[in-house]
Amino acid sequence: MKKTLLSWLLIGGMGLSGAAFAQSDYPTLSQLNQRLERVASNASAELTSLTKTEGGKDIWVLKVGTGQLDQKPAMAVVGGVEGYEVLSVELAVQFAEKLVADHADALEATTFYIFPNMSPDAYEQYHASLKYERRGNAVAVDHDRDGTSGENGYTDLNGDGMITMMRVEDPLGEYMISKEDERVLIKADKSKGEAGKYSLYKESKDDDKDGEFAEDLKEGIAFNKSLTYKFPVFEPLAGDMPVTQKESRALLDYLFEQWNIFAFVTFSPANNLSSPLKYNAGNAKKRIVTSILEKDQALNTMVSDLYKEIVEQKAYQQDNQGTDGDFFQWAYFHFGRLSFGTPGYWVPEYKDSTGKAKSNAEVNYLAWADSLGMNDVFVPWKEVQHPDFPGKKVEVGGIKPFVMTNPSFDKVAEIADQHTEFILKLAEMQPKLEIHNVKAESLGNGLTRVTMDLFNNSAIPTHSEMGENSRWLRKIRIDMDADAEKIVSGNKIELMDSLEAYEKASLSWIIRGNGNVTVKAGASHAGFTSTTLKL
């Protein structure tokens, strides 16, 4: 309790000092655009629209850095991966704002790419007159594959401007009232002799008269379900093929041109920061790799520990470590980069005075909300007339959309501060190539032996184990600028697969003649170093 009080005070203080935080709710797209433009007015930031979505919304990238931007290791920060996670957009944008305003020193060594919102079409639903948790973009899709697109979405049966749930009293139903909280429905456990009493649906009508409810949504393809890793082919919100959408293609095309990204931080439901991904030897050795590789798991553990030092909220029900077709796994399994993900926020575990935990996430949420006096998060079940269930009792109600995945806006500042600190700490750990022990020994008759050590002065290797396999990461290249005919032994150009954390490699040449020679070593995502010596 004390801690909560303290953080409240902290937020209050910040609210006073920063005019940018005068907001009381998550911003609209146009407010976001204004803030991005404000960031871009800084000399170190460049704002580019990669494409416009089907809904006519920009997909923005902020590239932030100084000097030789493309020669420095870079991190990518991605938000709006799920359209209903409005917090994720805010975290990415606040990171950009804080980076240019307060952390310009970080740009000396690192370049940042911030993709604040990959699902702007879906994001808009938060501010629409009908509010619901939306994932898909504005493309017309036939999710139930019956030949007609989007003909059975949600219906606001109780006219409250949001989509919750509807329950139908039905002895054949699979759901029953939770014993812990009568507002919540849970699946009846037949093995325990429990009988269902309700059918449970999203608030909707059977518009296409096929016996299904809300099975052909009036939304398109979900960004976070349509990438190439484990693409869930033909599933609703995924489509027939991966990476078919304007925003996914534009993002990937852009990323494949940015050779300097070494790590991603993605704000989305998948979480490998509260606990690292688990290595599975069998799955790592199959032709289609579906386990993090062994060395990368150790890295993930190290970074997860860093995260838990900075981000105070204790993990609760953070068991999503990736879903089919998502972005977070794509960045690692198909793009070969270090990939870290967190939703940034989750409902904390609530224990009552007896110290007993709740068995269900919704029960836990409501108990926690009650304890804080949050009384506007639940729509009480109320009977409605439903044309598809004549003679049956149909009630609409349930937890309001967005409230379980996004904290109230006054909590965001603290979360953003902690995550900004985490990203900057992670950036400090980036691969760092240095040249040491440079020696030029004369062998007589105009020959000089040049030796040196190339050293990665970082806890992070130049290439993740996965990245070593990828042709989309460059090798470390060592260039000796002496004329080819003067190099008696050693390579003018040498390529090296990787350097581990704190690993060194010894280099040696024999060169004829005198004057200065320069050795340059590095790769875009690991940075470059060079040294000049006299023969």
């Binding site: 096929d210 082919v233 027939d240 093929m241 080819a484």
Partner: protein, 577 residues
Amino acid sequence: MKIAKLLIALAVGALSLGSYKADAQEKFFRAVGTPHNPKVEIAFNRYYTYEGLVDNMKKIAAAHPDIAKLESIGKSYEGRDMWTLTITDFSTGKDTDKPGMWIDGNIHSNEIQGGEFSLYGAWYLTEMFADNEFIQQLLKDKVFYITPTINPDARNDFFLEPNTANSPRSGMMILDNDGDGEAGEDGMDDLDGDGNITMMIRKSPTGRYIKDPQDSRKLIMVGADKVGEYEMLGQEGTDGDGDGRVNDDGVGYYDPNRDWGWNWQPDYIQRGALRYPFTLPENRSIMEFVMKHPNIAGAQSFHNSGGMILRGPGAEEDVDTYNREDIRIYDAIAKKGEEMIPGYRYLTVYKDLYSVFGGELDWFYGVRGVFTYSNELMNSYLYFHKESEGRGQDEMFKVDELLTMGDAFVKWQEFEHPQFGTVEIGGFKKTFGRAHPGFLLEQDAHRNIAFTIYHAYHTPKLSVMDVKEEDLGGGLKAITATIFNERLMPTHASQDLKYNIERPDYVTISGAKVVAGFVIEDEDFNKFTEQKLNPEKISVANVPGMTGVKVKWIVSSGSNYSITVDSAKGGKASWKK
């Protein structure tokens, strides 16, 4: 009956005699099975560049405006048009209302003859249409979409730039293949300027080879206890970027046939893949065309070489995707193909060749439920009509001695190499081995196209038949109808049914007031499935091949009704009382 047939035959004979004279082509006499006096003359004993193929396609479209239309379905990486010929009898319906057959060639740019084979198909169909009943009926029922080269940029590179028989396999996108941050800085060097990248050898005291005393073209290894004369230096070329390796970063590397969006895998799992499925504009254009043509029910892609009729799955991981009912149809068509194309074997990619992800044939089947084959054209069987013996190279030397009179080999010649000193350059030309020699080209094209026509013939053909009425009393009557499919392929492959890829077939009755509608499961035992919503338009999940589906309506009025069937891959048919 017999007399009538004879009379017609005589009349037809007289007619054709008349037209023969009218042509005043007294120097020709028609050989069976080939257009003898075509409107478009094309020599099928040579190869065509992209421009050459396009020229011929334009001539075909211009000479046969009623059955052939030419359109560009997109642009290649370097901006060339991807030309597609749509061939059907347009007077009998829109192309999209008929079952479609997609044909392409040359996805691997060095696998050139797919271009000529596809072109032969377009030429044969259009030129035979005038006087061959089978082709007339075929173009009434079906549509062919023919794209002879789906890799036009690199097709031209293969012909016009120095290459081996194996290069380029990709398109012309230049990538950083050696991972040094520079793209395409060490490509092929045609040192002797003959357009072929052959081999380099060098005299060396430690070499382990000599030239065969009986055949100086051949390099043979000396016995373990003998001193040799030559060492092999590998491919004709130089180390263009100074990294100690020859020709290590040229055009391509990627594989256009690892770029398709079914079970696609990235490069470290599937070498040759690009960023994501359909990174290549050529493949993307085809994908978009196919998605806009749900009538495509069959597909054929021409590769080389080895003499194979291949079906999927390409990847072992996809074994379950291809199920038994569909494999039965694949087998039936391809076994016929083995008879039609001597020396060719019917094989399954993953188990008989190699296991690959992201191939075209798996995409056609996996995402669209389209029955698809890839033929690996050219087989050494065609040289001497027997299985080749011993090492392939030995046979090639024999072929070039006896059949192509030395035209296939670049003789060893000395050359001053910037890095290796004095070397000798020589070897087989790029157009030999994988490509057909001219004299074998037309015959093998015909046989492969005949197979493809057989494949297209067996896309579904629907009719409404056996319509019966039964008076039920009280002003009600029952109408039953059979939707018959008289070909091998179903309207929905089992892959299609598994994922609901394509909409159901609709059987619609009009001109009657429908009370109830059913699909008949078992007529003899009165087993029906009722469709409650819109019973006048019954959704049928599938019409299997060589059999039918029965539907039933109960109607309260209507005596002048008609029944239509509308299937995405099976075309349309109707019946009227």
